[in-house]
Amino acid sequence: MYMAIFILFAIMSIAGAIMVITLKSPVSSAIALIFVLCCIAGLFALMGALFMAALQVIVYAGAIMVLFLFIIMLLNLKDEILGEDEKKVTRVFGSILGIAFLLEIGFFVRRALTVGSESLMYPVPEQFASIEVISTGLFTKFLFAFEITSVLLLVAIIGAIMLSKGEGKTEY
């Protein structure tokens, strides 16, 4: 049962990911990406990490993807405009990165297989990724990284405000 649901979610998320990069219209790609993110939330939930699953849906599938879709629709990009931008450099660079990433995944899959099939299925600890564990970690061990991240986000917010206000424009 567990395995069947896992395989279902895994296949759906990979299929969705392929759709993200192959679909022609940007809106369809974004919708496929929402689907992928929801499937990954399903995988988290399957591992018992309900908190992570909920955050995945709220933050990524909910908030960030709404913004993505909003911007894509607002700009309403046509295929011709997107086609012009396609440069050879991007393609070459992209394929190199893609191959490197595939090799990395292959390396870890192989290592997991050689260690033995049991290690693939070992049970997750009882309190795995629960709210208590994550928040205790965030506010003790990883406090510095946590605070640095918030500064980074603050910089991004200030940058966004500066960009949208523009030079010389005083009107809100």
Partner: protein
């Protein structure tokens, strides 16, 4: 997990889901009658006693309407968009305890479909998905006004979701748990209701709730005077009906959430617990209709400014005050 357990779970789902669908159907009649009463009209009272069969007549009418798909529409997305707007609203009800636990076939039955320990986050996650039905529907129609409605919907929902979530943070600080069952258990008597501990938080939550379900005064995505019909302009037949069922189901589930989080859930004296739950939810549903009969619609820029410059700072202030009181 034997047959009786499975039977009980299936029974719970059927009963709660059935009750919700029944309420969705009769909410349409309730709204029309109450609005008519507010405006000094009579409202639909011809079909059956006092119009009680009106929802069935409406459903039959909608089923037999022609299902039109506009030329140039994205067929697949156009077909699934109404479902995407309807299904999440039904999912919310799964984590809400609707009655006191009772004993059936010698087993303790909690009247909640799924008692997960992150109930509130589940609700937020599912509400976050509700907007996609509107955005995708508006875009897939390949038509101007629905697209404008969809753009408004996405801007509005992300703005108000932030204050909705932050309003809940104050509540979480007081209760110390994400579990719906525990939150209800904490509010065992009238004076322990969370509304008295979080009055500002509740106010923010209910305003956010109105914006989240796209009701007047926040129904900009479907402002008929300026957008023809908004995101649902091109939809007809059961697809159109599904958008409306989604809106009513969202209203009912968000009322149920408010009752559970701030008004003691199913708890109450003398009367049986499901009755109390229904009475409280009904009071909120009346409020939704009452507000529709009373307030005008916001202008779009007012809506955005109100969300970011009033609600968001107030929500942060609420968290700050709650923290100060808890430390003292």
């Amino acid at each position: 997990m034997d047959l009786i357990d499975i039977g009980i779970t299936v029974g719970k789902v059927v009963i709660i889901f059935g009750a919700l669908m029944g309420m969705v159907a009769y909410m349409t009649l309730f709204e029309r009658r109450v609005i008519a009463f507010i405006q000094g009209r009579i409202g639909p009272n011809r079909v059956g006693f006092q119009g009680l069969l009106q929802p069935i007549a409406d459903a039959v009418k909608l089923l037999f309407k022609e299902d039109v798909t506009p030329a140039g529409a994205n067929k697949f997305l156009f077909a699934i968009a109404p479902m995407l707007s309807f299904i999440p609203t039904l999912l919310t009800i799964a984590v809400i305890p609707v009655a006191e636990s009772s004993t059936i076939f010698g087993r303790e039955v909690d009247w909640i479909i799924s008692d997960i320990n992150i109930g509130i986050l589940f609700v937020l996650a599912v509400t976050a998905m509700e907007v996609y039905g509107i955005i995708i529907g508006g875009w897939a129609s390949n038509s101007k006004y629905p697209l404008l409605g969809a753009l408004r919907a996405s801007a509005q929902m992300i703005s108000y979701e932030v204050s909705l979530g932050l309003a809940l943070v104050g509540l979480l600080m007081v209760t110390g748990t994400f579990s719906m069952t525990e939150i209800v258990a904490q509010q065992s008597s009238f004076l322990q209701w969370n509304i008295f501990k979080q009055p500002l938080g509740f106010l923010l939550f209910i305003i956010g709730a109105f914006a989240e379900v796209n009701r007047i005064p926040f129904d900009l995505p479907e402002a008929e005077a300026e957008l023809v019909g908004g995101y649902n302009t091109e939809f007809s037949s059961m697809k159109f009906a599904m958008y409306f069922m989604g809106e009513y189901a969202a209203m009912i589930s968000i009322s149920a959430i408010m009752v559970t989080l701030y008004f003691g859930g199913w708890q109450g004296p003398i009367l049986p617990s499901p009755i109390w739950f229904l009475l409280k939810v009904g009071a909120f549903l009346f409020t939704f209709v009452w507000v529709r009969g009373t307030l005008p619609r916001f202008r779009y820029d007012q809506l955005m400014r109100f969300g970011w410059l009033v609600l968001l700072p107030l929500a942060l202030f609420n968290i700050f005050i709650t923290g100060v009181i808890m430390v003292l």
